[in-house]
Amino acid sequence: MSESLAVGRAQARPAGRAGDTAGVAALDARRKLQLALGVIWVLDGILQYQPSMFTQSFPDMLAGSAHGNPGVVAGPITWSASLIGHHVVVLNAVFATIQLALGLGIAWRPTLKLALAASIAWSLAVWWLGEGFGGILAGTARPVNGAPGPVILYAILAVLLWPADRDPGAPSVAGRATGHRPARAVWLVLWGSLAAFALLPSSRAPGAISDMLTDGADGAPVWLAWIDTHAAGALNHHGLAASIVLAVLLALVAVAVYLPAPAFRTAIVLAVVLAAALWLAQGMGELFTGMATDPESGPLLALLALAFWPAVTRKEA
């Protein structure tokens, strides 16, 4: 196989060299988003190689996601956490390598479909066994703590960015593979569910959001801790109002998918801003604590929002 491998673009340039590409299709918007997804998978893989992941902290963290879930959901979580606890070094190394391979597989075009398909299967498994379905069944799902579970967003992105053109005329990248209507339904359900989660009792408790922000400050660098601490102070005892405002904004984003393109673009910008705010509230996925397995939902929500960016139509132009 190696003989048939080549590095592209060199043929297109007389002074080409390694790192250039030949015979490679141009990077269209979908491919750029696929590569962004690949970057996040690579980040996940490397995060999984962190020293703390090779200790009992990792299976303990997984076992914690069983809390509050029905027995039929919690049982397999507890079982898998126990299994991982007995072989934590080997299994964590395998998990990390799988995620790294998923990222590199998405990057390498010949394995793109395989990697995306594998990432869907992997994400669904981790969504159950690693995140307890994001706390949806336990009633603890909150947008601020990453509901509906960051890892399910990987699966959704893999489906939306699948390299197929079922609806080539779709106004956005997200609609090309699945069709415009299913893609819009996914958007509505995702952002609508986030709005609903923002109104659950666990979200609207007086200290719910401020406590989460305070937690996010733990182990964070000074500048991030400063942001989270001050935001927590401002929102302290205003959990209900903050939850309602957040829910309204998320609901607006959800329904905007059925508005004309200019209005939807505004909603996408709002979605990206909300995703960034949620990410900061999540302590940037606690990346600085040494215990993060992924960057949390913020970057994925932003990436997903960008996948829905409507192309400029002739009429608009």
Binding site: M1, S2, S4, L5, A6, V7, G8, R9, A10, Q11, P14, A15, G16, R17, A18, G19, D20, T21, A22, G23, V24, L27, R31, L35, G38, V39, V42, L43, I46, L47, Y49, Q50, P51, F54, V89, A93, L100, G103, L104, I106, A107, W108, R109, P110, G219, A220, P221, V222, W223, M284, L287, F288, G290
Partner: protein
């Protein structure tokens, strides 16, 4: 660094392997007059050695201060290459056509060497490995994550460029890099028969390996 010993050893071995391979590329390119990115390969030689020393104490070679000077000089070189490119300088097959990632790599090395000394003593005492480091309490901690993400993005973009079923291109050595000071056939300018670029796929794999390893080191600093 703070990872499991066997894992850091694997990453150290990978970076050393890249260093040795790139040194070999420099020799083969000179003997066979096969184009390769001399500056990139040269940077990877020193980078591989330095990274291995950061990962495993037994592979420690030079003091941090010396490495800082070396990588600062390398960063200046790649910075100049970027400026030359913007001024429309003619590209040479013997130099990196995309110096920005290598500038970032060199800057990341300087960054890590500057961060390391504060935590090196504690890490060496507790882990037995070369260094345990964290940039969380550093003033410049906000740089760690963007640097790592840039490198992962670079790795993924490189992966995107590797294609199947395309023949490795045969390249004519570039004309007239008069300022290079190299003899004919070594990037200096006289017309040469077309010569294939030296192992382009291996060059890309080296770049990806260095990117992943350096990204791993930066993530350990988070």
């Amino acid at each position: 660094m703070g990872g499991p010993a066997w894992l850091t050893a694997i990453f150290a071995a990978a970076s050393l392997a890249v260093a040795v391979y790139c040194a070999g590329r420099l020799v083969v390119a000179r003997r066979g007059r096969r184009p390769t990115e001399l500056d990139t390969d040269g940077a990877h030689v020193i980078m591989g050695v330095a990274m291995a020393g950061m990962l495993v104490s037994g592979l420690h070679t030079l003091p941090s201060a010396i490495w800082e000077v070396v990588f600062t000089a390398a960063a200046v070189w790649f910075g100049c290459r970027i400026l030359q490119g913007r001024r429309g300088a003619q590209p040479s097959p013997w130099r990196s056509s995309h110096p920005l990632p290598h500038l970032v790599e060199c800057a990341a090395m300087v960054f890590m060497f500057l961060i390391l000394p504060a935590s090196a003593a504690a890490g060496a005492a507790t882990s037995g490995m070369s260094m345990t480091m964290t940039s969380t309490e550093s003033t410049f901690s906000f740089l760690t994550l963007p640097l790592a993400l840039y490198l992962f993005g670079y790795v993924v973009c490189l992966g995107d460029r590797v294609t199947l079923h395309a023949r490795a291109p045969a390249l004519a050595t570039a004309p007239a890099s008069a300022e290079s000071g190299l003899r004919p056939g070594y990037g200096s300018g006289s017309p040469e028969p077309a010569r294939p670029y030296l192992a382009p796929r291996c060059a890309v794999v080296c770049k990806m390996t260095m990117g992943i390893t350096m990204g791993y080191m930066l993530i350990l600093m988070l």
